[in-house]
Amino acid sequence: MSNKYVEMGMRSPVNLTWEVTLACNLRCNHCLSSSGEKACNELSTAEALDLVEQLHTARVFQVNFGGGEPFIRPDFEEILAACHARGIMTCISTNGTLITAELVNRLATNPLVAIQVSLDGARRETCDAVRGDGVFDAAIAAVKLLAATKIPASINTVLTTHNASEIPAMHDLARSLGVSLRVSRFRPSGRGADNWESLRPTPAQLLTFSDWLAKSGDVRTGDSFFSLTTQERQGLGLNLCGAAKLTCCVSPTGHMYPCAFLQSDRFEAGDLRVKKFQEIWDTSEIYASFRNLRIHSCEECTRFDQCHGGCPAVAWHLKNDINGGDPECLERCVTSIADNRLDLAA
């Protein structure tokens, strides 16, 4: 069932992803933003602080900081402090390599911050194959520093074909470190698109994961697996794509998009150097088109009420069709496995 209140339209996003820089000290081969070098013309400190003020006026509840590596930005703590001074909750996604005891102590003074450290395997070899040598150890050290404070901390894992069998072990690892586990769906964007075929989980792995997730109520997914959601997890999220309805994305250069996985000219909703945040949210034609998006090709499916056609970003990247229906939804995973069996039997 769709959410009638979401359909009515929100005055502003509930939360948003703000990629504060494209600069990163790592070159992960799944990176959705192809991060590495800083983008030219990234928002200045003054522009970033002005945006925080606009988000406050718009009553945005939470900002999820990503990038690039947010802690590379020299003024990042200043931006955080501006959010916290206005009561805006923050969640930072970090690769963990720049986390020091001093930084953690400073962050721990504020109750409005949460941190998720990215770790893409329970085994050092699995994680470092995606993120680079030495990253697993650095990330674990960061998690330990965070777990010793009151900062709500989690490990975030992007499900790939290489770590799919390690997800239960990731859960155990997170528990043993005293933090929670969040698993994100791998999307074919940025370097993730370049390496899609070698990293994407197989339909069988997605189904196994879906079953495991159904039994693991404490594992969060940021609703990114709603296309695979089983009955057991129906109550845990809204089970719909929130892009342009409940959330949106701000790029390092101040361009707004429906979500972090659709940051191209085709999906640009507006430029914060030209228009105000609220004006873009209210008047962007791209946002209006996402709010009116109906995946008609999925409407006959018995699971339509549960997934509403899935992730438009995946449909766009894989089928070049934003209305095309999620090629990796639960129903299509089951069908594709059955088709393979028939092919083998023939």
Binding site: M8, G9, M10, V14, R59, F61, Q62, G87, A114
Partner: protein, 82 residues
Amino acid sequence: MAAAGIKLHPSCRVRQEGFGLLFYDCKGPRLLFAATGTLLPADYFGTVRARDEFPAGTSESQKPALQKFVTQLLEKGFLREQ
């Protein structure tokens, strides 16, 4: 010791939307859509309130529904007793 009153939980936020109040709990995260119209201002639970205290102008006929709503918010953890 009896609780002095109720207040928005520190992990929660609330704002006015066209349909009423939108509550957000960053732990989860989870949302609660409350079709309260303009009965309760969004900042109402920003300060400690008695459980049976409502904005001036609330009619007697509206109070039972609002009281039930406050109880639900407490049960769901969006409000807490202080």
